[in-house]
Amino acid sequence: MTKFGPDPIFRYIGKKRRAKEDPRFVMGRGRFAADIWLPGMKHVALVASPHPSARIVSIDASAALALPGVHYALTGEEYCDACDALMIGVDAPKVERYALARGVVRYVGEWVVAVVADTRAIAEDAAELVEVVYEPTPHVIDPEVAIKDDSPLVHPAHGSNVILHKHFNWGPVDDTFARAEHTLAMRVRWGRSSTVPIETFGAVAQWDPGQELLDVWASVQMPKFPDQLARALRLPGNAVRVHYDVDVGGSYGVKRGIKHTTLVGYLAKRLGMPIRLVEDRLENMRGGDMHGPDRIFDMNVAFDGNGTLRGLKIRAIDDVGAYAGRSPFQLGKPVTAICGPYRIGAIEYEPIAVLTNKTPEEAVRGFGQSPTNFALERTLDCVARYLEIDPIEIRRRNLIRKDEFPYKIPSGSTYDSGDYHTVVDKTLAAADYPALVAQRDAARRAGKLAGIGISTCLEPNGGNSGFEPLLNPKNDTTTWMDSCLVRVDLNAAITGVMGTSSSGQGHETLVSTVIGEVLERDPETIRVVRADSLQALPSNSPVGSRMAIMLGGAAAGAARKIREALIDIAAHNLRCSIEQVEYRDGNCSVRGQPDKRLTWEQLVGIAHRTIHKMPSGMEPGLQAKFVWDVPTGGALPSPDNTIQIYPCYSFEAHLVYVEIDPDTAAPEIRKYVCGHDCGVMISPDIVHGMTYGGIAHGIGAALYEKFSYTADGQLQSGTLMDYLIPTAMEVPPIAIVDHCTPSPLTTFGQKGSGEAGYLGGPAAVGNAINDALAPLGARMDETPMTHDALWHTIHNARSPEAK
């Protein structure tokens, strides 16, 4: 694919333009899963396990079924016989997962019975009448207990609670550590949180026995969703039609819902009625299977006296909960940026995914990168403190320099481009760093706890899945393509067709902007639609910050084919060579002879109506598809376990100033600046919006949000009153400073940005908190650093015993 020149001037890309999606949302005319309302539709409520681990002795649904308006009570006995287990990414075939439990339950909230009724209210009434007798069995909540030999087993058939355990060595690790001037070991914990969209998961399914076709509307963001759905339901792939023209009310990774959708799909076919399941908040929080990474990092770092990093050892235990889909792969993506933006020559990485009796983990924004960045950035700050070097200076000394790109890291990925030092400088300038330091020091003199935190992090993007074969040799996936179809109708209007749903990323704006750029037509006039899964070209959904690169690249590729076809038609009719045709605004003329000209409408008309005026052999009509493989993709891991996983690497530098009330321990973020380089921005308002939102997620993960469990396995934060999402009062005004280092690998120099802000935010906030605690001699290396945890840390540091 040819690129625009080294200093491209774009007509629409990078310009202020209203998002195409926004008007329908402000009118209240979005079309979300819960808005789908089919005639005769029935509603599902779920009976959930109250035990973290138990044998199901008996289920009696007779009282529920006797209630007027109740149609059915489905148990795991029936469901698991009729459907196949859901797909699992790692090599653990005995860890079987179905929509309903059969025989045993493995976490509090696991679905045991699905009750179907005329209304959701009746279904809930009936669910309360289902009598399930359980015999509690030993459970395990702590992942470090779960990996011991004498632990209760979550899946005895698997023989262990360890579902993934790898040991990677890239570079001369032992030698580096043996010869290091200094080493430092520390433990960092990332608490169990998630992105928790405001819309819970919803799915509606309808079976047409005449066509033998299952129609599905779901609030889904999941690669290969229709294929997995069909397989679980034992249907041919072409018997499942997923409608992607459903607005998804936030996802940030977690809206997978394959369990929910197979359940309603099965019920719709079994009962011959349209079936709807929309989670309530408690079902979502404990049974929706959307918790995020929950990690223990043992970090060991080797470095010189001047702060130069030499080697790194990371042991990461991730508590994936009671079942696994793709979640253990979240230990794999960080391999693609395992040393962050720093020059570190030798790295050891030991990822371990552990099953426990908790709600399963799902993919969360960044796919494991944010916790890894947090651990790395905390470690770097501790090295700086140990050596008494300024935390900004230690980063400057270790950041990869601009002239070193493309830069290959020990684990095999080559970073495409970057200018990290400049982004740091711009961030400090925007924050007026010397003034900020003065403000902090004055606050400290006034008796406050005040701290400045920095993080410098990478956002790997482009969404290739090279971590799959790296972590599971039986999986030889090497492509993760995306595609677009562009058509121009007889009336000369342009339509772009994409094949996936969106959850706020503005893909209709993206596609129309890119097509408009290539065809030189106003994006406002370009419509973008979403084909259903039987009509769509292949897509892997908006995961891994990939759509600006992949869908943008595919839309450009398809639009270029249209442009080339129009030029061919023009050359043929104007009797000149292709090279002599000048294409401008969609009209074509002979270069130097502006009167020899065919307009956009005339050219389109020829393509649709007058094949005798077309070059011979050219297909009539005017449409083009383009399927694009991920740049740099296509390879399996080398025998030394190195692999290029993601193609592009955006960079972010966060600078945060925090004050903590010394008496109440309440933290307040007083300043937040984020320097960001994601290459060429196609839609700046959209990129900035996602970055603000990612930072808000990061603040939540750092300070507030936790799925907390008691020792006896009960989830303590199943509502939004216990699981604290930051409001407009906790999220401060944020200043974003843009920088642009184009990617050499993509169509317009763009990189991805969907995970921006979240990947470096928690680290910067955590470092600021620690800078504030430093004068007390206290330190916190575990998220979330809640108000309560802060109070205890400060109180303990001040108690006489601590002196």
Partner: protein
């Protein structure tokens, strides 16, 4: 269904709507399921997220915490009622589009209601007043920044009359 039903009459977006509803039916379920006004969304059903905000007699309330029978005899305005009479976007809605004050659009109707309730009583709010007014509405996409910007923009436009040009 054998539950006892109660007659209600509610003015919704300027039109009187009558129905017979079970006592336990929430106002949001009545609006969404029985009136098919699906612009009002459900996020938590325990009064925390604000997605279901509507105006009741001009004040922002959580329609998940009210029963439909409690709205009997009252005026309700939903997001669908924020457009101008000719169907074009109102100033606040237009400002949300101008600053891209949303991504997924799910919390947006509740945010618009909370913001409109503020602007109806405080035409020229400070940033602190804006953040306070939307402090009960959760958004997971935006970090609130472009929402705050939109409300400021709307206030300026409303205060400057119809000839306002954004700077």
């Amino acid at each position: 269904m054998t539950e006892k039903r109660h007659a209600i009459s509610v003015e919704v977006n300027g039109l009187r709507r009558t129905d017979e509803v079970p006592a336990r039916l929430s106002l949001v379920d009545w609006l969404r399921d029985r009136q098919r006004l699906t612009g009002t969304h459900i996020g938590c059903e325990h009064g925390t997220c604000g997605a279901c905000s509507v105006m009741l007699d001009g004040e922002a309330v959580r329609s998940c915490l009210m029963f439909a029978v409690q709205a009997d005899g009252h005026r309700v305005k939903t997001v669908e009622g924020l457009c101008n009479a000719d169907g074009t976007l109102g100033v606040l809605q237009d400002s949300f589009c101008e600053t891209h004050a949303m991504q997924c659009g799910y919390c947006t109707p509740g945010m618009l209601i909370a913001a409109q309730a503020l602007l109806d009583t405080v035409p020229d709010p400070t940033e602190a007043q804006i953040r306070d007014a939307i402090g009960g509405n959760l958004c997971r996409c935006t970090g609130y920044q472009q929402i705050v910007d939109a409300i400021k923009l709307a206030a300026r436009k409303m205060g400057s009359g119809p000839n306002f040009e954004p700077t």
